[in-house]
Symmetry: D2
Subunit: 295 residues, 4 copies
């Protein structure tokens, strides 16, 4: 943790989404240069150089960052206010020395949770896991063994709203990101509105898709050869939010439904960990229902 703060001391990131027009890179890189910042990583993408949307992620180093941040932010605000932007530029500056504060929601399956906690412990995920929240009590020690508070918030069909209120109260002011690590409850629009583009979910995926109550069974009955997982931001349109990351593993006819589920777990934990890692490093920009991932 101290190592993280040390590594990212004086490091900042600029994230910009705006209408594409000539001169954006020159304007922002010039601004940073004038304020003593050295660009260490720059990625950009334009959906169409002629009238499309432009995305920019810059990581920079500036001595005594704290004393220069306000001027950089003022400069970005000035660029955003230029008439050529037509009011359509969104921007933010982040300081990664302060790690994201995260709540992990789980139900009974522990694979995704264990992976996230192990990678955090190994220094691979720069997050401060503030709490684990679950609608069951099963995974309490999986959290508390790592010294992380565990909150059991039961959910029943009649207590859904009340339970969600309780969860929101636990999170309030405490976390920047919610990771659903096989949390088997549906969040309401109210919850999602409180954390826009900041709730990440993981779920199984197949080629082609199998919908309904028993997707692994349906996949087995069709003889699928690949088991996949998709990590995405949660939107009100269930399981149809912008995709952050996907991957698959091969299977064959010898895999019974239980095997498919087991392999699905391995894909899920790897995909979720990568998606969360990119989010924590401010590498994911949501645009309509897609993501720009500056991996």
């Amino acid at each position: 943790m101290a190592a993280h703060a040390e590594r990212y001391r004086d490091v900042g990131r600029v994230l910009v989404t705006c209408p594409d027009r000539p001169g954006i890179v020159a304007a922002i890189s010039g601004l940073l240069f004038r304020h003593g910042a050295n660009i260490t990583e720059l990625q950009q993408y334009s959906t169409d150089p002629f009238g499309g949307t432009f995305f920019l992620r810059i990581e920079f180093h500036r001595e005594e960052l704290v004393s220069g941040l306000a001027a950089i932010e003022d400069g970005l605000a000035t660029i955003a206010a230029e008439p050529a932007m037509g009011g359509g530029m969104r921007w933010r500056v982040t300081t990664p020395a302060a790690r994201h504060r995260v709540a992990i929601f789980v139900s009974k399956a522990d694979h995704a949770l264990q992976e996230l906690l192990w990678r955090t412990h190994a220094g691979e995920l720069a997050m401060d896991v503030r709490m684990v929240v679950s609608n069951h009590d099963d995974l309490r020690s999986a959290a508390t063994d790592w010294g992380i508070p565990f909150h059991h918030v039961p959910v029943t069909s009649t207590t859904r709203d009340e339970a969600e209120s309780r969860a929101l109260a636990l999170l309030d002011g405490e976390v920047d990101l919610v990771v659903l690590a096989r949390y088997m409850q549906i969040l309401t629009p109210r919850f999602l509105a409180a954390y826009p583009d900041r709730v990440i979910n993981i779920h199984h995926s197949f080629l082609p898709a199998f919908v309904g109550a028993d997707p692994y069974g349906a996949a087995a009955r069709r003889g699928v050869k690949l088991i996949g997982a998709t990590a995405h931001y949660v939107t009100a349109d269930l399981d149809a939010g912008p995709i952050i990351e996907q991957d698959i593993e091969r299977v064959d006819h010898r895999h019974q439904v239980a095997d498919l589920r087991r392999i699905g777990r391995h894909v899920e934990r790897a995909v979720l960990a990568r998606a969360v890692g990119w989010h924590l490093e401010d590498r994911v920009i949501v645009h309509s229902n897609t993501t720009i991932v500056f991996a």
Copy 2:
């Protein structure tokens, strides 16, 4: 071609699907041994050792195969007639020295056709491509350059039945397998009934699936990170037949719809070639709507 015939001289294959019960492997391997056959490859699979379905593929070598085949087939018929089988055993013996005779159906895209012809030429696919059939004339030279007859059978909404009759007449007695290598017409149940489990198709697939007229566009709008392809046997239930093989390639936000299509082509040709190869080597057994692939 001569090399193929030489390599597979005196090689036979036994394929069996039957109710699982103790003693099947002993009965069939004993039969082969008594008739001078040496098993060179054996694969089996049971959906459930207690009351499930059993699948067996044996490749064997027998000196002067021709003179022993009838006795082996008689022996298999006798086993199939045993009361314990309850009449549920299906079996066949194939002799790979005689290559499968194949028709390839195409429309305008040449990638899958070129791959199949190149692999055939390179000795990787043991098939005798008897003809290329297309509803367009564009790929004529792609076939005739390799010395393969090309038949242009136009299809319009009013001539569909007539066109299909013409295609069936071309195939009749000439081919054992039909490969749809990006053939953009739908085959009728009449056609499929003539070639049960012997029409292989390739189509794109995504995690999750995108249905409708513009799947690549829909995939791009959701930000998919994988482009896949599925090779399957064609059944009357469009694009829902038993899957033989699948694979994917990674993409990211920089891939425009045209790039996704290009990458899709690469996945399609590789997946189709693998599926066809396994079929030609009698490695694929269809069971309900799944496949057993003894790859």
Copy 3:
């Protein structure tokens, strides 16, 4: 654990390596059938049907297995004694209800250990981890948190023999398999002779190989695009024993040496877990310096 014993009650496995000749499958499957065993899985491979070596793995179910084992073993011994075998048949029967007893050796890195313990806990690896042995004390709690005895056996250049004797004494009669999960000491031929084909190691691999003290640095200086890992049985010829499993992950120029090491850890833990799993299920047969893996 109880679930494991229940699932494998009355399950046995036959493993055979012998000179290939006609009739082997018939003889052994006939033997099993006569003794009431139902084959549930059978895999075979021959290096050459004419004068090569034949490998067979059969998993079978037999009611009251205990009462039938001796007769099956007698039958196998009789087959092995046939003149046609020329004394060259090796065979064994295993009963998976009794899980393999395993010692895991580690040094300071915990990734491979954590993965093995998590998969064991999740029921994916059917092993009884009897102890963790290390030349350092760092990973004590990683073992004891899961209730597994931890033995700190320091090794210095002057105490190597003594330390190894101490380790051998800990293992004696207690374990069937030794897994080196990033154990950074070299085992002597004396140790390896006590556990032939029963010490599994994991190490990094590259395309091409980079030898010497700093392989990740050398790989970075050449611009490699893949980081791999190889799991193999340990022989006296350091890191050149029969390979069980390999895999890779993609990297690019942005990955610094520390990133390559981190990614290497992920590949290592996945590859080691798969290799150990196949060993535990008696799916790996060593032949000269190669492996037959009936995965």
Copy 4:
């Protein structure tokens, strides 16, 4: 071809390698903006923001590019001449409307050649294949069928220098890039000096490496599970030049040496095609013995 020229009309690329220091991106993006160029793609990388080497690739669009190129080049020369650069900045501007002119060298194997020609034909590789050169006559029609001149330049141990002179004469003024598509002769330093960082080779690779006369045999005897290929720029240090791309395919114990070679061919053609494609799009920058690949 016309489509290519149309698509890239008025498109330019700037490629820069220089000592890293603050302000580079601002200087170059400012220059482009002042001269009417709109950045459509920008990638940068620094080995170390403090005293490392900086790499930049910018693709831009400028109306009437021809009339503005000289001014942009002058501006880059001015930046390169700044004292802060210490004389260490290398840069170039390319205009992709003019496709690279390429010679493909082959021996007897056609897989890599066919793939390159098919992808060129399909519009996936933006190159003008000026000639195929071979030390054998076998692949003449593979070239001439596509309308490409074929030159048979036999090489024997006594005519090596003379043959190479003949090849150099064929290339002189005609090509910008030489692709060795399974060309089994070693090029001399004289040849390589004429095409620095412009000769791309493909060769098989394994984890670990197997050196000597029979690498596939050695790999089989160790039981490798992955077959790989490496595309790299050729340097005087045989097969040790900077790596552009690598990939692998899985194999198992059933693959005989001939199968490994066949699978090796598939990996080789895919890896070579990707490497050539990135080179053609100016996405590869050589740095010491590594590559920066802005894929």
